[in-house]
């Protein structure tokens, strides 16, 4: 599903050059659930951003579901993100003026699905997350766990091939964290969606099939859990 070879990324700020990724090779099969661990600044988020086509790599090759990701214009990138990828962020990143249902429906809005239809689909996903009664609440009326479940529903609605989660439990307490992980594992199992989770919590990483450790921009360890 994801196949990257020798990925390099350097950030240039003024005269400073920061070589963040120094040749990453990684193969993720369809349906795998993988966690990425590493210290702050190790490059794990950068890797996730490149995989999410939110950022571009300098060297190397990236194949997403067989499509070569290189020199894409922003329209094409947006289309690929919409079709193949679902994002779950640490800070939820819900749109503040849209209610839970509208937030979930947003990816379908960009596919020009009619409002009635996409809201109906969004309600199904909210129901699966156990948040049907909250569908008309705004994000600031919801708890952290609820918000993250809405974000997951939003990541799922366009039926992506891969879900990329950047510290999905970073802002949640341990009980809620485990609940969110339950949901993610369920989705991985039942829908066969490939999942990449960046985390620095060991007990979260333990719940995935494989843990990749990144140190100073290189993959130093791959552990099967």
């Amino acid at each position: 599903m994801i196949d990257i070879t020798n990925i390099h990324k350097t950030y240039i700020t003024g005269t400073n050059k920061l070589h963040v990724l120094k040749g990453i090779d990684l193969k993720v099969d369809a349906g795998e659930m993988i966690s990425v661990m590493g210290a702050s600044g190790s490059g794990k988020s950068t890797l996730l951003n490149i995989l999410g086509i939110l950022d571009n790599h300098d060297h190397g090759e990236y194949l997403l579901s067989g499509i070569k990701i290189e020199h894409l214009n922003e329209s094409k990138a947006a289309q690929l993100r919409n079709k193949y990828l679902g994002f779950v962020f640490q800070s939820f990143n819900l749109v503040s003026f849209k209610n839970a249902m509208e937030n979930v429906a947003l990816p379908l809005y960009y596919q020009n699905v009619k409002r009635k239809k996409r809201n109906a689909i969004a309600m199904e996903y909210l129901d699966r997350m156990g948040l049907k009664e909250w569908s008309h609440h705004l994000p600031n009326e919801l708890s952290g766990g609820q918000k993250q479940r809405i974000a997951i529903a939003r990541a799922l609605i366009a039926k992506p091939k891969v879900i990329l989660a950047d510290e999905p439990t970073g802002a949640l307490d341990s009980v809620t964290s485990q609940e969110v992980m339950d949901i993610l594992t369920d989705i991985n199992k039942n829908e066969n969606i490939t999942m990449l989770i960046v985390t620095h919590e060991l007990d979260i990483a333990k719940r995935t099939q494989k843990t990749i450790r990144i140190t100073d921009g290189m993959i130093t360890e791959i552990v099967k859990n």
Binding site: N49, G52, L54, D55, E74, S75, A77, A78, Q79, R81, N82, K83, F87, F89, N93, L94, V95, S96, F97, K98, E102, L106, P107, Y109, Y110, Q111, R115, R154, A158
Partner: protein, 420 residues
Amino acid sequence: MFDLDRWQEIYHVLKKNKLRTFLTAFGVFWGIFMLVIMMGSGDGLKNGVSQNFGDMATNSVFIWAQQTSVPFKGFTRGRRFDYENADVRALGDAIPEIKFLAPRTNVGGFNGSNNVIRGLKSGAFQIFGDYPVLDSIDPVNLLQGRFINELDVKEKRKIVVIGLRVKELLFEKNENPINQYIQVNGVYFKVVGLFKSKRTGEAASNDNQRIHMPFTTCQKTFNMGDAIGFFNITSKDGIPVAVVEEKAIKVLKKRHSVAPTDDAAIGHFNLEVEYNKMQGLFFGIRVLVWIVGIGTLFAGVIGVSNIMLVVVKERTKEIGIQRALGAAPRIIISQIITESVVLTTFSGYFGLTLGVGLLEFINYLLEKTGAGSDMFLHPGINFNVAITALAILVVAGVVAGLIPARKAVSVKPIDALRYE
């Protein structure tokens, strides 16, 4: 197609900082408001001054006789002469460009001694001997009765058409002047018509103190023989009256043995030239108003653009989220441009409405108090100008949104997402 999500977003953005939205909108509002007020006032000025012409044909020239200043054909200089009835035919034959030719004789003046009497009342008025064709050159509002007709001229009937002021001075308030008799320079005339000037202010009050009688009646009754006071000539449509003026003067000089070089002998006044000068002035005012108005509007639009930049910066993260979820750049761009257009169009429309409203109110006051003068009348802007202004607003809104929109999508999605 109506897109609820888009309007929800616009509403949210504009509502978020109400004062800021209001102040930005005010910039555009003020621009269009000023434009409307200035345009309206310019038109008011134009209407006021144009009204001095009434419905008079502006392609008119007046030609009268003065004293010669050059000796010619045995005549000394300083000779006085009169035009005569035969000149009318001669002018008509010699100049095909003439549309209307109205000779006129006159008796007395409103500054002179009282020359018109009715019973115990009397007044000093201008008396003109006219042809019915006058009604085509310098029409009046006929309030009662009729104007002079061909039969009146042919039969030299002793009838008069009087101005409103004449009636007021010679008749009782509720008296019907039609078929009553007034005494002009000692001779009785029957009143057949009552008119009111189409002009305003001083010009109107002059008009309303006039008495018109058939041309032939005037010549005969007051023993003028063949003499004509002056000619009022208009040219055919599309031909400058100056052409007619020049030819007519040439013909008249020849017929009255005036030296071709004598410019003082024949008096003439070309209304068209004066009218065109005035039109030029109003055109100038109009251009100036547009420049100032567009300038003010432009300042407002820059304000909108500025605020949109701030909004885009504030919403960087939100836009980043939308892009991560698959919003293509054109969606973001059209969203921001729509916001900008909505802001300018709404505030502009409000400015337009209020401006027109104010003009209408001034108009209402002017009419109610009768304060409309020679200089200012019926301020207002025409529909086309309003539509143009609205079109300008929409275009301005697009332009104002363009730079901020480009900025919004120029950021990499990841940088937008990280923005705090």
